[in-house]
Symmetry: D2
Subunit: 360 residues, 4 copies
């Protein structure tokens, strides 16, 4: 199924980049949950385009229109549906992509899969624009988790090879994340911005890594094997276009560690069981340990670059040089930060409801 | 849900390490598919313990007993069920773990989640032993994919910081993988084995990375967003105990690349559309491109080490030193290689059936 | 999950009767399927209110607005989303129902379930109005099935105790169903209409039965046990408000029959295997036999009647007499006929795609 | 999917009538639930064959062997798996059915679906024997619901046209159901038994209806539309072989009633909201009202009768007379009574866990 996620809540995302509207339905949410619309809009604005000099100049409000599921600012128990109308589209930019697919984009795979019936404009259903409805759902879940004392925050861990200060695995510095540019180290942030500008000047793009932390989680969320927290989070994170890697805790670094280094020793702190370190990223056997949940997602460089690229004509089966037109971010990582938070919020809220069902 | 996976096929895994039996049911498989039992047993033997000097000496045949779903060597359309009886168990080794959880293991999270009712012996349902039924299901799917010209192979990419030769992303050397020790470079393999022996001598363990490739895949498998190949593969790979990272194609390396480097240029080769490079790992927009599908999974060092470790008594809420008894692999990565192949085979076969349903 | 249905296609229905809009998303539909919008609108009009003198005078166009999933009149592979805006609402009619629930309606159960947060206006998410988006999805599936030679038709089998001529189980008379009033016997239809008028005059309502037939089905659709055609059809039919019974073939009549009467003898006709009778309703072991699929659904009398009724005040826990205001059909059965067709079309199309995935 | 059911618990049933074993896995059950094995065996015995003079003389213990999920008589949180080994099989009886399908049975539809690869012996996966593992799962759920004060009971409502005293819809007489022959009226039961004997003497069979009631249910279980109690119960009931109709409360009788008759007036009784009558069968808008949940399921006459029947040779596409050999119940309804209880218990327990997840 293309666009449905969740065990207790069913998130269904729909829309094409240049269609009439994009949107989402979120089914299975309990009644009586408060929604702060201003906070939600502020969250959506963090993802919206046109926020700074290196993101795409296409400016759209990304103001969600709620069609159902809410009444007087509270969930009413029925499925929540929200849409964002598309207003500022330039479809002519994409006309040639049916024949000549953009390298690194889904143009070719969609062509094969849908046999020429796909909506190619703006990337269709594969567009990064589809992360806007993901952020509506995630922004709501984030609020409902916060009401339970569960906080989610993310920052840019790396762009173009430049690293930010990492989160402390046992006490992630959520409150120190920059609001203008979401990094912990202002200096690293400055260099990252310069790298993005350099890439832009070269008609090129750069990739990066987003690191996300969840604090305040009770121990016991998640199910063993295929219902583990890593798997359910990875599944939704991979639903974000451009993600090519997801890791938890020490992640790929575990291949350099010995068991005696990687194992997190148990301690008693303030009358509670904790671990001295947190290489596990707050997850053991797929189940939350009560320590902060830490993960990282790798985003490839924006495939749409204006540099000439080698492609082919599918009609003539011949070599073609492609110049991608249209407006594109030279780096999507800054805007991807709230999207990762949204995806994690949805997965965690889903696991939270499942946990409630089975605990005594 | 703990142990159910799949859209078109439903894999359900059950059992505890030291219970009566472990097993699996696989529902939704078409009728008339041939099963080669010898080949399946050979595949299971690659995962089985006691194969060499550094894997756990516990020797069990891992011979599956099929209860249903097969008739005269062919699938008969009804759910396939198979079990492996547990014969060689030493539960007394685990008695103290209810009170004093092993660092890096699921003892503590299971205790919180199940309130003391969990089966702690041998790790219960969280044991690596549960990968045996995963390999039954995966071994079958591997055969059915091979009948369609789709091959799956994996090797050890890294152990204890020592790297093997990587797969060629455009033409992975599946046939060059060692049968005794699954690496491409015999020299690297020798050093890895030495590193494992060193760790064992230190009563310690080491982690590593498995790289897996799928060749012969048609373009068009997978669905956009949450049904993408990366998400569905990651979800099942994270069902394997000890996995802390999953990446595709260039993976976390994309954070160092520019778009012009990461984008794979299209070419025409033998009358077919291919890409010159394969940073995408054979997946664009969640959908297979026809190029080899490449992924890597990071496995943490075996948490059960016989070195003294710091833990706590849950009853007395006091500090305790823990000596883990029992027999444990100093490195699970060699045995994890077929398990990754199995997980990928299940995910790909599931996507293959879904693809059949929607193509015209 | 409240409003999600399907194995291969995921239908998600949202909206409240008096909210901003009602709608549906339909995910998992293949690309390249043609949509005839005029035919769809004609189908929706059969369900729409205000069509005759005994249906509710509330007149709404029920004109779907497609937001995604279609391009130039064909499915494009991405999820289909469509909404119907609510224009003609009179919420004040429903104000008192939070305290004083209407007998036979979901007011009380919603109050308990949602703790006072539910949207009570017009029945909220429990309203019969939610069958409009079901008919959008079903109308589409009906067209796609028709392109495969599969026809679906339904008629009123009974209203207020008056029976129509039943379908011939081996050769249902789909083409003889009245277009003005969907019955096979014009005479029975006249009496039914009179019974409805009588009930209306008495400020009362009447119930009935809808019979539906599917012809042109290949043998082999459906899966055994919980994936059988009866179960998957019943699940979606029970999603229609007011349904209290679903039966297939001889249905509850089997309790009067002997095996020798109920068993359908096999015959060869035109070189194909058929059955002489069709007590099975075209389903054996949950799987289609190639004979017409026949089912009946019982609809209770509209619970909203203007006759005074006995209820309670939930606030004061005291007896109350209730006069239901608002406009309500004295019999919903005529408008339910296309809704049953829609539900069956969705279930059959879902099973059809699943069948394609597994057949060789 | 053939044999998987549930939203919060995943029940997977496997096995063929004459295969090595039949069984079930039940995933998603909370830890710490007590299991009374004697009570479970007594429940299974109610379904077992060979209990009286008109059920099939094939005697099998139906003693479940639990492979996982239980520890010291309590659920341990991991999936529960149980099998029943097949011991007393006579496959030679079924040899000719591949070519000459039994009327009323799934032989022909299985042949078309599985292309000759199906296991035809004893009906394979379509056999009534598969209700034994359903009863294991249902017997467990029944115990866990009873611990919450929720009782489930069923009786024979009709056999061969002879009706039992119906349940009182507001106060079903669960304690008056006969233990030897599950009816409320001993006299009706005697006539039913005679009708079965008559059918047996004629080498024929008879059908009937089972009525089931659930008491002690809290109001608020179930979800609107496709998650309603009717739909989820109907889906599992239709998983029982031979069921052709399912109805709730007044069921098909609603077609004879006016709204003023069918609507259940609200009353206050013992400080609680109840209804004077219960035509709704305890369900409004798909959600439990707190009144007893009442349903009926129609079972067709056993299709396997020893009377000569008309069939065809699939190989020669010619008319054949068929004499069904083997041992078969002339009426399965008495043995179906606990099976209906089991199915309802599973559906209700699943809904109960879902309800826990969303209530505040």
């Amino acid at each position: 199924m293309s666009s449905t996620y969740g065990q207790m809540i069913k998130l269904s995302i729909f829309g094409q980049s240049h269609g009439a509207a994009i949107g989402m339905t979120l089914d299975g949410v309990p009644a009586g949950l408060k929604v702060d619309f201003e906070e939600l809009q502020a969250f959506l604005n963090r993802r919206a385009p046109g926020q700074n000099d290196f993101s795409t100049p296409r400016k759209e409000a990304d103001a969600p229109e709620f069609l159902s599921g809410l009444l007087d600012g509270y969930t009413c128990g029925s499925p929540i549906a929200a849409i964002i109308k598309n207003t500022n589209t330039r479809s002519a930019d994409y006309r040639n992509l049916m024949d000549c697919p953009r390298p690194g984009h889904a143009d070719y795979t969609a062509q094969v899969k849908y046999g020429g019936y796909q909506d190619v404009s703006g990337g269709g259903h594969f567009s990064g624009r589809l992360t806007a409805p993901l952020c509506i759902a995630g922004g709501l879940c984030k609020q409902w988790l916060a009401a339970q004392g569960i906080q989610i925050g993310a920052h840019i861990a790396k762009i173009a090879g430049i690293s930010d200060t990492p989160f402390s695995p046992v006490s992630p510095q959520l409150e120190q994340i920059g609001t203008d540019f979401p990094v912990l180290s202002k200096e690293s942030g400055e260099i990252m911005r310069q790298m993005i500008q350099n890439a832009k000047a070269d008609c090129d793009s750069v990739g990066g890594i987003v690191e996300c932390a969840v604090t305040g989680l009770p121990a016991g969320l998640g199910e063993p094997m295929f219902g583990g927290m890593e798997g359910r989070i990875a599944q939704i994170i991979y639903g974000i276009p451009a993600v090519k890697g997801v890791e938890f805790g020490a992640g790929f670094g575990v291949a350099e560690l010995r068991g005696s280094e990687n194992n997190d020793p148990y301690i008693i702190e303030d009358g509670a069981v904790k671990t001295l370190t947190n290489h596990a990223g707050g997850i053991l056997g797929g189940i939350t340990s009560g320590m902060p949940l830490i993960l990282r997602a790798a985003f490839k460089p924006t495939p749409s670059i204006s540099k000439p690229q080698q492609s082919v004509s599918l009609e003539h089966m011949s070599r073609e040089e492609l110049i991608v037109k249209g407006r594109h971010d030279p780096c999507i990582v800054p805007r991807a930060v709230p999207v990762v938070e949204a995806a994690v919020a949805i997965a965690v809220y889903d696991a939270y409801l499942e946990w409630k069902a089975r605990k005594s």
